[in-house]
C-alpha cells in the first residue's frame, strides 16, 4: 500500500499518474466472517476500521448495496460541529469532532477538515437567551462556544443582509469556532483505505436480502452475492434501518424523511464560515471550489425518495437570497437528497437490539455526517464486546421502554 505524502504526489505527477494503485482492494467474498457490517457509508466503514484497529477484529466484511459513500455520506452538506445541549449528546458529538481533528494524520488521508467556524444567527431576544443558555451548558461540558455581537457578525460576514428592515434582523450570533466542514468523500475513502489496510473486506454491489436465525441469533446473512455465515452483525444504514430491522424481526422508533441540499455554480471566495439561520432553517457555506452549499429543513412527510423536490428548493433559495441578496444572480448547479432516520427525541440509537448478535447504529437524523467517527467507534465496541460502550449506554434502544429519552430537539430548539 502506498503511503500518501507530498513526495508521493509529486512523484506520481511526474510519472503521469500511471503507477497509482487502488486505494482499497476488491476482495472475493468469503463464506464466513466474524463480523458482517451492513452499510458501506462513513459509519459502516468507520466501524470496520475501529473494530480492526482498537479491538483487533479483522475478519470483517462491510457489505454495501450500491457503492461506498453513495448514500447519506455522499448526500449531506459536510458540516461538522459539536454544540449540543445534553452532557450525553455532547460527549458523543465532541468525541466525533476530536476524532475528526486527528483523523487525517491517523489514516494518512487528507479529509480537508476546515474549522472555519459554525455561526448560528441570533434574530431576537429569545434566541439570544437560549444561545446564552447553550453556551453556558457547553462551557460546563468543556466545549468551546461563544456569543458574538452584531458588529462582529457584520465584520465576519460582510455579505449578510444586516439591515434593520431585513425580514429576519440579526442581533448577534452563536459561534463554535471548531465547527466547519470536511470533504465528505475523503472521510469515506479514507476510512475504506485504512480499514482495507487492516484486512477488512469491503464488498460493493452486495445487497442484504434476508437473515437466517437460530436460537435468537443471526447465523447467516443472505445477500445478492451469496450466503455469509457470521459471528455478529452490525447495522449502519441510516434511513433504511427499518427495512433491516424488519428482516430481523423487530421494529424501530424511526421515520425516514428526505433531507435535501443544493449547490450553486462556483464563485469567488465570499463566505468564510458556515452560517445557519434558525428562523428559516437554512444553512449555507462555500466550498473550497467556490460553490455555495445550501440546505434547510427535511421534508415533513415520510419519504425514501433520494431526490430533491421543488417546494423545498424554492423555500431554501428564497431564504438564502433574503439572507444574502448578493447571491440572487447565482445559478443553481445540482441538488440532491438523503434519507434521514428521524427518532422522536432526535438522538441516535446505538448498541444491542432484540436480536442477540445484531448491534445497531442509526437515528442520527440530519446529524449523521458530523458523528461518523464516534458512531463507528461506539458500534465497533458493541460488536467486539457484546455490550454498549459507556458513552452509548444513554442511547440504547431500551430507552424508549424505560422512558429515559435524550430530547435534543426540545433542548436545542431546532432540528438536528
Amino acid at each position: 500500500m502506498q503511503r500518501y505524502s507530498l513526495f508521493h504526489l509529486a512523484r506520481q505527477a511526474l510519472r503521469g499518474n500511471k503507477r497509482c494503485t487502488p486505494a482499497w482492494n476488491a476482495p472475493t467474498l468469503k463464506s464466513k466472517y466474524d463480523v458482517v457490517i451492513i452499510g458501506g457509508g462513513g459509519h459502516g466503514l468507520a466501524t470496520a476500521y475501529y473494530l480492526a484497529k482498537n479491538y483487533g477484529v479483522t475478519n470483517v466484511a462491510v457489505l454495501e448495496k450500491g457503492w461506498i459513500g453513495g448514500g447519506n455520506s455522499g448526500r449531506n452538506t459536510t458540516n461538522v460541529r459539536s454544540d449540543y445541549m445534553f452532557p450525553e449528546s455532547v460527549a458523543v458529538y465532541d468525541l466525533a469532532l476530536r476524532l475528526y481533528e486527528q483523523l487525517a494524520k491517523e489514516i494518512n488521508f487528507n479529509i480537508m477538515l476546515s474549522q472555519r467556524g459554525w455561526v448560528t444567527l441570533i434574530h431576537d431576544q429569545h434566541q439570544l437567551e437560549s444561545a446564552q443558555h447553550k453556551r453556558n451548558s457547553l462551557a460546563c461540558n468543556g466545549v468551546d462556544a461563544q456569543i458574538i455581537g452584531r458588529d462582529e457578525v457584520r465584520r465576519m460576514i460582510p455579505s449578510l443582509n444586516m439591515q434593520d428592515a431585513a425580514r429576519h434582523p440579526v442581533i448577534g450570533a452563536f459561534l463554535q469556532k471548531r465547527g466547519g466542514t470536511i470533504r465528505h468523500d475523503a472521510v469515506v475513502w479514507g476510512y475504506a483505505r485504512a480499514a482495507d489496510q487492516l484486512g477488512v473486506h469491503i464488498v460493493q454491489g452486495c445487497e442484504v436480502l434476508a437473515f437466517e436465525r437460530a436460537g435468537g441469533r443471526i447465523t447467516t446473512v443472505n445477500t445478492s452475492r451469496g450466503r455469509i455465515s457470521c459471528g455478529a452483525v452490525g447495522v449502519a444504514v441510516a434511513g433504511h434501518s427499518s427495512l433491516i430491522a424488519d428482516m430481523a424481526g423487530f421494529r424501530l422508533p424511526l421515520t425516514s424523511h428526505c433531507l435535501q441540499a443544493m449547490v450553486s455554480e462556483p464563485i469567488k471566495p465570499v463566505l468564510n464560515h458556515v452560517v445557519f439561520s434558525p428562523n428559516t432553517g437554512v444553512y449555507i457555506n462555500q466550498t473550497q471550489k467556490g460553490e455555495l452549499v445550501m440546505g434547510s429543513a427535511r421534508d415533513l412527510y415520510a419519504s425514501y425518495g433520494q431526490r430533491g423536490t421543488f417546494p423545498t428548493i424554492e423555500k431554501t433559495i428564497t431564504a438564502v437570497v433574503e439572507m444574502f441578496p448578493i447571491f440572487g444572480q447565482t445559478r443553481l448547479m445540482r441538488h440532491w437528497a438523503g434519507i434521514v432516520d428521524i427518532v422522536p427525541d432526535s438522538s441516535p440509537i446505538l448498541g444491542p437490539t432484540p436480536v442477540d448478535n445484531m448491534h445497531i447504529n442509526c437515528g442520527w437524523g440530519s446529524g449523521g455526517f458530523k458523528a461518523i467517527p464516534a458512531g463507528g467507534l461506539l458500534l465497533a465496541c458493541s460488536l467486539a464486546t457484546g455490550k454498549p460502550h459507556p458513552l452509548a449506554v444513554p442511547f440504547g434502544l431500551d430507552r424508549f421502554r424505560s422512558n429515559r429519552l435524550v430530547d435534543e430537539s426540545a433542548a436545542a430548539g431546532s432540528a438536528h
Binding site: 427499518s242 421515520t255 415533513l300 412527510y301 415520510a302 419519504s303 425518495g305 417546494p311 424508549f400 421502554r401
Partner: protein
C-alpha cells in the same frame, strides 16, 4: 410536489397546503390501564416506516380542515388511495 384531492371538500391541494399526520394503523391500547410497557412502547414509538406503499394520515390544513387517510408510495410519492374515515375501518 405531492398533490392530493381532499375526499371531503374535493379540492386539489398541494403538499404546502396539507399537514402530514404520520403513519396510519397505529392504534392506542383499548384498555390503557391493562397495557404492558411493551405495548405502550410499541404504540408511542415503534413504526413500520415502510418503503413503498405506506398508509398515512393527512389533513386538509389550508382548506376544510378534515383529516383523511392516504396510501402513498414513499419512494415515488404516487398517491394510490385516498379514504374518508367513514369509508373503511379505523386505522
Amino acid at each position: 410536489m405531492i398533490v392530493i384531492r381532499c375526499p371531503y371538500c374535493h379540492e386539489l391541494k398541494t403538499e404546502d397546503e396539507l399537514t402530514y399526520g404520520g403513519e396510519g394503523g397505529v392504534t392506542r391500547p383499548v384498555a390503557p390501564e391493562n397495557a404492558s410497557d411493551a405495548e405502550w412502547t410499541d404504540y408511542l414509538f415503534m413504526r413500520i416506516n415502510r418503503k413503498g406503499p405506506h398508509r398515512e394520515h393527512w389533513c386538509c390544513a389550508i382548506g376544510c380542515g378534515q383529516w383523511f387517510k392516504v396510501t402513498r408510495n414513499t419512494v415515488t410519492h404516487e398517491v394510490i388511495k385516498i379514504d374518508r374515515w367513514d369509508e373503511s375501518a379505523l386505522g
